[in-house]
């Protein structure tokens, strides 16, 4: 694909020029995923009814660390792609990871704009509505899927 050739020829050098760039990006990607998933586990398990000592509104205090992790991983992830676009574009692990990433994003928007305004007004210790529990379960499943398919990228088929 011409666009992939162009990226590889013009931008790839930015990522590949120094031998230590790639391991440093990988390390940042791992740190970012711990921030993203650590915060999400707390919010999602709370939606599923675990650890009711935490008011759902209070669990939103974790959003900044989640978004920081997401930003780190989106930036480093784009740099991986720029460094080796031909390998990623055709990799089934990468394609599935991106599909789950988009679905996880849509689920997060559903929670933030439709569910959260309602859930946050519930009195403490009231049971979670079914749709909020569903959204929490989807979030956990989709994001861990993103992690799993991402980790498998080096080992699965390319095309």
């Amino acid at each position: 694909m011409p666009i992939l050739d162009w990226i590889a020829d013009n931008l790839g050098i930015l990522v590949l020029a120094l031998p230590w760039t790639w391991p440093i990006l990988e390390t940042l990607h791992f740190i970012g995923l711990c921030m993203l998933l650590g915060g999400l586990i707390v919010i999602d398990l709370r939606l599923l009814g675990f650890n009711r000592l935490i008011p759902t509104v209070a669990s939103h205090d974790l959003l900044p660390i989640i978004y920081t992790g997401l930003t780190i991983n989106t930036v480093t992830g784009i740099m991986f792609f720029i460094g080796d676009p031909h390998r990623y574009a055709v990799n089934i692990g990468f394609q599935l990871k991106m599909l789950l990433y988009v679905l996880a994003g849509l689920n997060a928007l559903w929670y933030q704009y439709k569910l959260s305004p309602r859930v946050d007004r519930l009195p403490a210790n009231s049971p979670m509505p079914t749709d909020a529990r569903l959204s929490g379960a989807l979030s956990l499943g989709l994001w861990f899927g993103v992690l799993i398919f991402g980790r498998l990228i080096p080992y699965v088929g390319t095309g």
Binding site: P23, E26, L33, L37, G38, I54, D61, L62
Partner: protein, 154 residues
């Protein structure tokens, strides 16, 4: 260590098409659970996420232990595949030291949180040394992630 590398398990981890990738994937899932949750606890003790009650933290460490179990199992199996090289690697040894330190801190913190955290009504009520300990824990886990990732480049 050479004996460990020669076992059937080590051979399977090294040569099976699915063994190594699945163990690595399990290891990254366990890492996200263990370090992700311990980081939330540490950052809360340091002073972030102020609406989350201290009393809720001990249960987060309880879940984190599941991640540690996954990683002890997958990590031990990965270790067998290249045991001789790992024990001679300063990067790997530093990683294990940091993991051990981080685990000991979490194991110390959890009963303290369970016993006392309900009484910590304000930031100032934390026992002396709790915040520095949380910062040390966070630092050790960051070094553990970094040296763990770099172990792949030995």
């Amino acid at each position: 260590m050479a004996w460990l590398e020669s076992t059937a398990l080590a051979d399977w981890v090294r040569t099976s098409l699915v063994g190594y990738p699945l163990l690595l994937t399990g290891h990254s899932v366990g890492m996200a659970i263990m370090i992700g949750l311990v980081a939330v606890v540490d950052l809360r003790l340091i002073g972030l996420f102020r609406r989350i009650p201290y009393a809720a933290l001990d249960r987060l460490i309880s879940i984190a232990w599941y991640g540690l179990i996954v990683n002890a199992v997958t990590g031990s199996m990965l270790f067998t595949s290249q045991a001789v090289a790992y024990v001679a690697s300063p990067t790997y040894l530093l990683k294990m030291l940091m993991v051990l330190g981080g685990v000991l801190v979490a194991a110390y913190m959890q009963p303290v949180l369970r016993r006392e955290a309900a009484n910590w009504t304000t930031d100032a009520a934390l026992p002396q040394g709790m915040k520095p300990l949380a910062a040390v824990s966070l630092g050790m886990w960051l070094v553990a992630i970094t040296t763990g990732r770099l172990t792949a480049y030995l």
